[in-house]
Every structure is written in structure tokens, then in C-alpha cells.
């Protein structure tokens, strides 16, 4: 394996799944983990604190142009889009919402796909809107690896179903399978 980053998209309802994933990662996880989760725009604090309680790797809401480091997780801050900029940096933006969302999963995925090409793993979890489907397609188009949470398992299926409709993905996995996959990296 030769991957450079993992990016995960979901809505606030994926909180439990993301917590389980972060709780199961090896503390020496070899890649940066980007998390773009839909969230209330005016609630600034609480989300990253709650996720960090059980996370095995440090998680933060990055500042603009922060350097991405392996074994760290980065949660898109409230009311900002989170881009991957050249030289392995985060770039934030207050540009218009996309799919009614800021942060938009599509924008995070598209910019990560441009930056990491075939060295990116994109994962779409459950969610209530189609944001992320186009982004995951871009991951696939650039040769990256794509995983969608099994809609059978998702509480809210719109997001994984839209991703599956738009793209032929590599794996449809349950949460347990996603965790086992990441543990083997």
C-alpha cells in the first residue's frame, strides 16, 4: 500500500460510527484522516471535543494552512469548507454552501482527490443528503480507492445510496469491515 490520506464524509448522524472508527485505529495510524461531517453551522464547540474522547489518534479542527500529519485526524470546522491545498496543507474557505452544506463533503473530496490522486482512500458513511456522491466519483476518477457504508446498515441511506448510484465503488462495507480495512493499512 502506498496511500497518503483517508477522507471520510457523513452527516452529524454518523457521529457514532466515526467515534467507533477513531476508537479502533492504531495510535500509529500511518495516514492523516480528514473528516468532513455535516454539522450545525452556529455551534462551534463540542463536536471535536466529543470525538476526541474516544479517539486513539489526536483530532482537531484545523486552522487555515495547517500541515497534515500522519496519525492525526482533522475535522472540518463549523461553517467553513475544508480543502486540501498543495504541499499537504489544509485550506479553509467561507465560499457559498454546496448542496446546502458548508462544510461540503463534495468540496473536501474533490480537492483531496486532486491533491492525492490514486493515493487517496475515500469513505462515505450514512447521511441525509446527496453531498459526497460527486466527490467520491472524483476519488474514483483519479484512481483512488472508494468505500461506501452498506446502506443496509445505514440509518439514513440517502448519502451512501447516492454515491453508489453515481459511481462504481470498490467496496460496500459495514462499519466493522471499514474498521478492519483501516486497521490493516
Amino acid at each position: 500500500m502506498n496511500y497518503k490520506a483517508v477522507i471520510i464524509g457523513g452527516s452529524a448522524g454518523s457521529f457514532q460510527i466515526v467515534t467507533r472508527i477513531l476508537n479502533s485505529l492504531n495510535p500509529n495510524f500511518p495516514l492523516p484522516v480528514l473528516l468532513c461531517l455535516h454539522r450545525l453551522k452556529h455551534v462551534r464547540s463540542g463536536f471535536v471535543e466529543a470525538l476526541s474522547l474516544k479517539s486513539n489518534i489526536p483530532i482537531s479542527e484545523p486552522y487555515d494552512k495547517d500541515q497534515l500529519k500522519p496519525g492525526n485526524a482533522y475535522l472540518a470546522p463549523a461553517n467553513y469548507h475544508m480543502f486540501v491545498e498543495l504541499a499537504n496543507r489544509i485550506a479553509l474557505s467561507t465560499d457559498e454552501p454546496v448542496n446546502h452544506s458548508r462544510p461540503s463533503i463534495d468540496l473536501s473530496f474533490v480537492t483531496a482527490a486532486n491533491a492525492y490522486r490514486d493515493k487517496l482512500i475515500g469513505i462515505i458513511l450514512s447521511g441525509a443528503n446527496r453531498d459526497g456522491a460527486f466527490g467520491l466519483k472524483k476519488v474514483v476518477d483519479n484512481g483512488g480507492l472508494s468505500i461506501v457504508q452498506d446502506p443496509q446498515e445505514s440509518e439514513v441511506k440517502t448519502m451512501p445510496t447516492s454515491a453508489l448510484q453515481l459511481t462504481k465503488v470498490d467496496y460496500v462495507y459495514t462499519t466493522d469491515q471499514i474498521i478492519r480495512f483501516l486497521q490493516k493499512l
Binding site: 452556529h42 462551534r44 470546522p77 479553509l92 474557505s93 465560499d95 468540496l107 480537492t111
Partner: protein, 276 residues
């Protein structure tokens, strides 16, 4: 949606520099790419070559190009606690004589959202006619837009929610009327504002400024140029002046600029210019 490659972007940077002397090379690449793609789509240009051609053959288009290049302010009263700080912890504590010759600068007045917010805060404090505000803009069409006071309804609805969280003195509807699609500013808030047309070298920056509002503008530039802008801001400010940045713009760990400003209220990304 047209997708631009790095070669296309370099060509646009080159053309804009050669034809208009405007330097786009300091923009952070990812958001620049996104904005250029937005310009192509907004002007129904269908290919990068059509944009090259338009920039080369239509002088007047460049002003539109600039107005669409910069990201407009997302909403008024974004982060209400910042504006509450300004009202309660800052302006309310200023002595009367501190307002003598009191200058405020908005270095990136793109769509006027932050400027209007500032003016409303000051108006409710009955300070608006006691201060001088400088607002730097980059294109005539965006100035027209700012002065017209017309915004998409959705934005103003979000702003009205923010205003309620800010706990202003009025109803937001006293400032904006809303119809089915748009909202329009009712009051003229800009009597104390001087609009300055400039470029990113900020050659016309005001001097002895006591308060600078520059929230979520640095994020669109490369780190080196962020430093340059912060140096310009530093030069423009008087000692102990206050600088407001966006919540995810942190300058304390930047080796090149951390000697210029001290954190004043770090949770709200508010800094104080150092003396000297």
C-alpha cells in the same frame, strides 16, 4: 462544469498579470481554481480558452472578473459572539476621548457583509457618526453591488438568525426588507464610510487605524502573502489597535508575524497590535 488544470490556471495568472498588472499568483491554488471555475460557469464560457479570449479581448470584462474572483462575505453577524465582544468588551469600555480621530479599516470589502455588520453595531451604540471607516474594494461592480444593498434572500435570512443571537437592539427587518427572492437594505449606513479602490499591494492603505476587520480573507492566500498582508495591516495600525481575524485564522504560531500582534481574545481570534 469545466475543470481547470494547473496549466490553464498558470495561463490565466499570466494573462491577468500581462494585461491588467494584477497579480493572482499569491492566491492559494485550491480556492483560486474553484473561483476561476465559478467564473467560467457564471459567464457561460464552457472552456478555459473562452476565458483566456475574454480576458484578452474585452477590457471591461476584467472588472466583472475581479468582482467574481473574491469570495463574498458569507453572512452578516457571522459568529455573533465576536460582534458581542466588539460591542460589550470593546466599544463599551472606550473612553470618550478615545473616539477622537477614531479610524476603522475593512481591507477586503468584497460584498459588504462585514461592513454592514460593523455599521449596524456602531449605529446601535450611537457611535456610527463619531468614527471614520475606510473600506478597500477591488472592482467597481462590487462597489455598486455593496451600495445597492441587495442580497440573496437566503443570506439575509441566515444573517437575521445571527442577529438574533447577537441580541441587537432592533428587529433585523428594520435594516432589511425581504421579498420572495431578495433582501434590500433600507437604511443608509455608509455616511461615515470612505470607499477606497486599491489592489493587493494596498498602496492606498489608511494610516493610524485603531480597528481592523479582516475576518476570513487571509485564508484565500498563500502563507507568504498572508505574512505580507499582515505586515501591511501592522503598518497601517496605531499601537494597541485591534485586529479581528476569522475564527480559524491563527497567527500566533507563525514565526514571521507573531511578533506583530498579541492575542487579545484568542477564542474569538481577536488580536492587539504590538507597540513599537
Amino acid at each position: 462544469m469545466v475543470e481547470l488544470g494547473i496549466v490553464d490556471i498558470r495561463e490565466i495568472i499570466r494573462l491577468v498579470n500581462a494585461n491588467f498588472g494584477f497579480d493572482l499568483s499569491n492566491f492559494a491554488l485550491t480556492s483560486l481554481k474553484y473561483r476561476l471555475e465559478h467564473i467560467i460557469s457564471k459567464n457561460s464560457l464552457t472552456s478555459p480558452e473562452n476565458l483566456f479570449r475574454k480576458l484578452t479581448s474585452e477590457q471591461a470584462f476584467f472588472d466583472t472578473f475581479l468582482s467574481q474572483l473574491f469570495v463574498p462575505s458569507s453572512e452578516m453577524f457571522r459568529d455573533p459572539s465576536v460582534w458581542r465582544w466588539l460591542r460589550e468588551e470593546y466599544f463599551a469600555t472606550l473612553a470618550d476621548n478615545a473616539l477622537m480621530n477614531y479610524k476603522i479599516w475593512v481591507p477586503f470589502c468584497i460584498s459588504g457583509g462585514e461592513l454592514c455588520t460593523l455599521c449596524i453595531v456602531l449605529k446601535e451604540l450611537r457611535l456610527l457618526d463619531k468614527v471614520k471607516i475606510y473600506a478597500t474594494y477591488f472592482s467597481d461592480s462590487s462597489l455598486e453591488q455593496i451600495k445597492s444593498g441587495v442580497y440573496p434572500l437566503k443570506k439575509v435570512q441566515v444573517s437575521a438568525e445571527n442577529y438574533r443571537r447577537f441580541k441587537g437592539d432592533a428587529n433585523f427587518e428594520e435594516y432589511y426588507t425581504m421579498d420572495q427572492y431578495n433582501a434590500k437594505r433600507v437604511l443608509d449606513l455608509f455616511d461615515s464610510v470612505e470607499f477606497i479602490k486599491d489592489d493587493l499591494s494596498f498602496g492606498k492603505a489608511p494610516k493610524n487605524v485603531k480597528l481592523v476587520l479582516m475576518r476570513n480573507s487571509l485564508i484565500y492566500f498563500k502563507p507568504n502573502f498572508q505574512d505580507d498582508i499582515l505586515n501591511v495591516i501592522y503598518q497601517s495600525m496605531s499601537a494597541a489597535g485591534i485586529l479581528l481575524l476569522g475564527l480559524q485564522e491563527l497567527i500566533t504560531k507563525n514565526q514571521n508575524t507573531k511578533s506583530l500582534f498579541d492575542p487579545q481574545e484568542i477564542s474569538e481570534s481577536i488580536y492587539k497590535r504590538r507597540i513599537g
